[in-house]
């Protein structure tokens, strides 16, 4: 086994890239859950985003239009979920699962035509002298635009929730939809907007996979990233900064095990591939076993159906 083949700087840089899709999906889902809705359909929205982004990018030749298309696709799909859970008052867990299954099927269908194409490439942002700083330059300043957008989103969501009136209303709706309704706030509208935001973010995350990280379209290419994103929201105790930590941690594990495989570590490949999932489970256990801690931060109305009965 040749460990010297692993360059730590490249490792860190590539973990940021690996983490970005999950980070995007997770920060979107955090907003959704803060409004009191549990959307298990993240995997479905991500993969729809992946295929939509891919298709739009190939047809228009512009990867940026692809990303916009992905966000719209993810948001549109999430609206089906929104309609069924908010207006038809269906069970959120079941509907989220339906969203995932439908998303996987629909994306495979759309992707049929594109299996062999290559998307237009996305280059890294040219940040000039910043990129030339030794060590830090390579790690932090040689990424593509989406990585920076994802970091900006983390800060943006944090500020929104903590300081803005709209963020306060969102949190209130997630705490007690009955009280919010009694005060005259439009619970369903707020939740639908949150769900659409979550869908757009998940779509972006999926498109990052198909347009930048891989970049290719394959059926089922998200491989559980949506579920990892859901786990990270729990890990983060619904706080944006911890989403960053969680996503990067997961990205780190993924990238590390790939590197170890390449370096010839004497452990069968399949067991290394299992490791990110196993580690996520262990982290979930640690987070939930603190008595009441995780539940204290969970929005109190999470997953409960709202029926306006004045």
């Amino acid at each position: 086994m040749d460990l010297s083949a692993i360059n730590p700087l490249i490792l860190i840089a590539s973990l940021m890239v690996a983490a970005t899709p999950i980070l995007l999906a997770a920060i979107g889902e955090l907003v959704v859950e803060k409004s009191g809705v549990l959307n298990l359909g993240v995997e479905g929205m991500m993969i729809i985003g992946a295929v939509c982004g891919y298709a739009v990018a190939i047809n228009t030749g512009s990867p940026w239009l692809g990303f916009i298309g992905a966000a719209i696709g993810g948001a549109a799909l999430s609206m089906i979920f929104g309609f069924i859970t908010q207006y038809m008052m269906a069970n959120q867990v079941a509907t989220g699962l339906a969203l995932t299954l439908f998303g996987l099927g629909l994306s495979a269908l759309i992707g049929e035509a594109y299996l062999l194409d290559r998307p237009p490439s996305v280059s890294e942002l040219n940040l000039g002298p910043l990129a030339d700083i030794p060590v830090l330059g390579q790690v932090l300043f040689q990424h593509d635009l989406i990585v920076y957008i994802s970091l900006a989103l983390i800060v943006g969501v944090w500020a929104f929730l903590k300081y803005s009136r709209a963020g306060l209303i969102l949190r209130a709706v997630g705490e007690s939809h009955d009280a919010a309704h009694a005060l005259g706030y439009k619970v369903i509208h707020v939740r639908l907007m949150a769900i659409a935001f979550g869908g757009a973010c998940a779509g972006l995350g999926g498109a990052y996979l198909s347009l930048i990280r891989v970049p290719q379209w394959t059926e089922g290419m998200t491989a559980g990233a949506g579920w990892i994103a859901l786990a990270i929201v729990v890990f983060a105790s619904w706080k944006p900064i911890w989403i960053l930590v969680g996503a990067y941690l997961f990205g780190g594990v993924t990238v590390l095990q790939l590197n170890l495989q390449a370096a010839g570590l004497a452990v069968p490949v399949e067991y290394l591939s299992m490791s990110p999932y196993l580690i996520t489970i262990i982290v979930l256990v640690i987070m939930s076993s603190g008595r009441g801690r995780a539940s204290l931060n969970a929005p109190a109305a999470l997953g409960r159906t709202f029926h306006a009965s004045s």
Partner: protein, 360 residues
């Protein structure tokens, strides 16, 4: 303005009508989807739903129906118990895989001996495999309060890697010229799950599915445990007041659904599929979720829903062959079916009222 008003009683008539309504709506929406794909919608719907049962080659297709329905029903029955209680086992696919690995492992360990008890041992091993895999989320939930949805789901991915590892390593056929995959169990008499009545596709897995339906019906309607399952899903506080032990219920529901999924996996690997290979699992664990909801979590409903879902698979294959309809269209179709069902289900608890709205 259209409003929804809660009914004083859940409506029993609507509860049976909603699945039918959902199927009809899906056929319409599916037809539109097929039309967009450039296929004649009526012909497509007919190929999928009518031909396999009544058409020219129906004698071939009908047998396949039971083959596909068996595992779906078996897994869905197990899932429905948990779902009713609000215990979400989403990792049935993983339990299916591990059950298959255990079952095949036991069978292959005896190769090439020929004892009557090999097959029964495999059955037990399959159930135990699925049970153990489901115990992981169960224990994590009861001891650490960890969300079973995420744990059981993540374990599916782990199980898939385990499957690949087994196909390439421990269970690989030594006489297989280096190709991945185990011996073919169909060719190993003592371990094979062959058709009981030729041509009908009825193998022991199908028999097990029917038995499961009957047992689940009795459990839910006549037994205290079934009552507690129904109660927990509706009113967890009332269930605790009635003396129910939540941990026991979690272990029972996850364990039972894991065992049933493991059984389904074992019957499949020793029957229709034949061997442990990297792509052995075909998504039954996930499709069974749709079957469970389509059947309204009711044993008889699941029986019917399983047959219907099997029909969409068979019909889908026929449509693929005859109309060049892509396989993923069927998957999208099945997802749509679940959506429509969930949406229409509101009518069993709420009435539609058209009138002047209040401040909402």
């Amino acid at each position: 303005m259209i409003r929804l008003e809660k009914r004083p009683q859940p409506s029993r008539t609507w509860a049976s009508v909603t699945p039918v309504l959902a199927v009809v709506l899906t056929m319409i929406a599916g037809g539109i989807l097929f039309a967009i794909l450039g296929k004649n919608p009526v012909e497509a719907i007919r190929t999928i739903f009518w031909d396999p049962v009544f058409g020219e080659f129906a004698f071939y297709y009908r047998g396949q129906l039971l083959v596909k329905a068996g595992p779906l029903i078996l897994i869905a029955i197990g899932l429905s118990l948990g779902f009713r209680a609000g215990i979400w086992n989403i990792g049935a696919e993983g339990q299916y895989i591990v059950g298959a690995i255990f079952g095949a492992g036991v069978g292959l360990a005896f190769y090439p001996a020929d004892y009557w008890f090999i097959f029964p041992l495999m059955v037990i091993a399959g159930a135990i495999g699925g049970f153990l895999w489901a115990m992981i989320p169960a224990i994590l939930k009861t001891r650490f309060n960890t969300n079973e949805i995420l744990v059981s789901l993540l374990l599916v991915y782990v199980a898939e890697q385990l499957l690949a590892s087994m196909s390439l390593g421990l269970l690989r056929n030594p006489e297989g010229a280096g190709f991945p995959g185990s011996r073919n169990l169909k060719q190993y008499e003592a371990a094979s799950n062959s058709e009981i009545i030729a041509g009908t596709g009825m193998h022991w897995g199908v028999v097990a599915a029917f038995i499961a339906v009957i047992l689940a019906y009795i459990l839910l309607n006549r037994h205290m445990l079934g009552f507690q399952i129904r109660l927990t899903g509706q009113s967890p506080r009332a269930a605790r007041f009635a003396g129910l032990k939540p941990r026991l219920l979690v272990v029972f529901c996850l364990g039972a659904s894991g065992a049933l999924a493991g059984l389904a996996g074992m019957f499949e690997v020793s029957g229709p599929a034949g061997q442990i290979s990297i792509d052995f699992n075909s998504g039954y664990g996930f499709t069974a979720i749709i079957v469970a909801f389509l059947g309204r979590l009711h044993p008889v409903g699941i029986l019917l829903a399983g047959m219907l879902m099997a029909l969409t698979f068979i019909g889908g294959e026929a449509a693929q062959a005859n109309l060049q309809l892509p396989a993923s269209a069927i998957q999208a179709f099945q997802g749509m079916l679940l959506f429509f069902l969930l949406a229409v289900d509101v009518l069993s608890n709420y009435r539609i009222k058209i009138g002047k709205g209040e401040a909402a």
